[in-house]
């Protein structure tokens, strides 16, 4: 069959997947601590037949996420935390430790600091943080130190991953190669980090994807016409 059709088909498949990435970014434009996804395309070569020639096709090869910080939204919440600059909070989930930039925390009925799903937030020492029940006004310093009634309770753990991060749902990241305590981290109390999705860029990308898809479609139609014309003219001979 025609290589031109296969080449466009590979492109079309890739564009469909990229559309999903754009849709997911826009759907998460209000998700606290969300990081924009980026699709990376790469060329792959396929042998075109008996000769030495080859055809180059494009396909989705990988993913990156834009780690740039999102905007800070001041909420005034006592346990709404954000990391300024680099670093992640660590949560103790049933699947193991997970990193997150979404610091919308609250207290459990036992006074442990937890996220919206009930996962415990870990302190700098790697243990879950517990706030005494009689603490009136909990204040969290820029280095993450938690104090109430003039006494130091614990310190919010902020870590830096070692190696690549793996994306998980609920704005969690998994660090398969582990993570280390990041001492220079800056924690902001009463603020939440917004999604870092830029709607303008995403919409521009969306239009680009859509038009490229239509162009690919037109290309395939032309190719189809060309082949059918070829067949007709051959038959007429």
């Amino acid at each position: 069959m025609s290589n031109a059709i296969y080449t466009s088909l590979a492109r079309q498949q890739g564009l469909m997947q990229e559309m999903q990435v754009v849709a997911n970014n826009l759907a998460n434009s209000s998700t606290t601590g969300y990081k924009t996804d980026r699709a990376v395309f790469a060329e792959f070569l396929v042998s075109a037949g008996d000769s030495q020639d080859s055809v180059s096709m494009g396909g989705l090869a990988g993913h990156t996420f834009k780690m740039a910080p999102g905007e800070m939204k001041f909420t005034g919440g006592e346990f709404d935390l954000a990391v300024q600059g680099e670093g992640f909070f660590v949560l103790q989930t049933p699947q193991g430790s997970r990193l997150t930039r979404a610091g919308h925390f609250q207290l459990s009925s036992e006074g442990a600091l937890i996220d919206g799903l009930g996962n415990g937030v870990l302190g700098a020492g790697g243990n879950p943080i517990t706030i005494p029940p009689d603490a009136a006004q909990v204040s969290i310093g820029s280095d993450g130190s938690i104090s109430a009634n003039g006494q130091l309770i614990d310190r919010v753990g902020v870590v830096k991953p070692q190696g690549e991060l793996l994306r998980d749902s609920n704005t969690f990241f998994e660090a398969p190669e582990g993570f280390a305590q990041f001492e220079e981290a800056t924690v902001v109390q009463g603020a939440l980090e917004q999604s870092n999705v830029s709607p303008v860029l995403e919409v521009a990308r969306m239009i680009e994807v859509q038009r490229a898809y239509e162009a690919g479609q037109a290309m395939m139609e032309r190719e189809d016409d060309r082949i059918s014309q070829l067949i007709t003219s051959l038959r007429e001979r």
């Binding site: 849709a23 990988g62 994306r167």
Partner: protein, 261 residues
């Protein structure tokens, strides 16, 4: 074509946000109302190519892999713990809580409910009741011939009579504190119920162990910041529109596919 469903989840999320915002704005004059805020989180990721997959015998690995997200969902709608402004009413039985804590109310079922709405009244039998007629759990009864009632900042209720300049203590109002106030279940009518997540009710004297003080003659206004709500509303509306654009674009891509021969 998953982008259609992904964009639909985005529209649903923004819709939830508008619902929450509209409820906040509707309650901008509700006594002691605490604004709610919707939080979102991303859905699971489809792993087409897991990062770290070995790509050769010499041990090279895929650095980033291919993970495609599947949309968004509302994760929590939580109460913002804010102190509303106190407005002076000079009502004898109007009390505002300055700080954290709740008044305990006994529901007709005998169950306890908690409220910050201190617009109290006297029942025909002299009992101190809420606007709905539910008595305070502290069981304060005001004598018929009492001329004036004074409520101290730490909750002591004193009745004054015409024949005696010295007041007579008739009870104390205590405040209830929860470890996790956000875990309370809203019952409507400004009332809340204790849940597993809130922790047990902890009855305290006002002004001790972190609970607030009482202020007679004041009520707490709604904690809704209208400017904030309106700017959130605009954001939610634009977010909704952006997601609908994705649906249009995906639809056009599908239309292009179906035109293919």
């Amino acid at each position: 074509m998953k982008s259609l469903q992904i964009a639909a989840s985005g529209m649903a999320a923004q819709q939830t946000r508008v619902d929450v915002i509209s409820n906040n704005i509707a309650n901008m004059s509700t006594t002691a109302y605490r604004p709610r805020v919707a939080e979102f989180s991303d859905l699971m990721y489809q792993q087409y190519l897991t990062p770290g997959t070995i790509t050769s015998q010499v041990g090279t690995v895929v650095p980033a892999g291919i993970q495609i997200g599947t949309g968004v969902r509302p994760s929590t709608v939580s109460m913002q713990i804010t102190q509303g402004a106190l407005s002076q009413t000079d009502g004898e039985l109007d009390i505002a809580i300055d700080g954290s804590g709740f008044l305990e109310v006994t529901l007709p079922s005998g169950e306890a409910a908690y409220t910050r709405d201190g617009k109290l009244n006297r029942s025909p039998t002299g009992e101190v009741v809420t606007m709905d007629g539910f008595p305070l759990a502290d069981g304060i009864v005001i004598p018929d011939d009492a001329q004036r009632i004074s409520i101290s900042r730490d909750g002591e209720v004193v009745a004054y009579f015409s024949d005696n300049a010295v007041g007579q203590p008739i009870g104390t109002i205590s405040l209830v504190r929860f470890v996790n106030e956000k875990g309370l279940e809203a019952l409507g009518d400004n009332m809340f119920r204790e849940t597993e997540a809130s922790g047990p009710a902890n009855r305290l004297v006002p002004g001790t162990e972190g609970v607030g003080l009482l202020r007679q003659g004041f009520i707490e206004e709604s904690g809704v910041d209208v400017v904030q709500e309106i700017s959130d509303l605009i954001e939610a509306q634009r977010g909704y529109e952006l997601n609908s654009k994705v649906i249009t674009a995906s639809d056009e891509m599908l239309a292009a596919t179906t035109r293919m021969r």
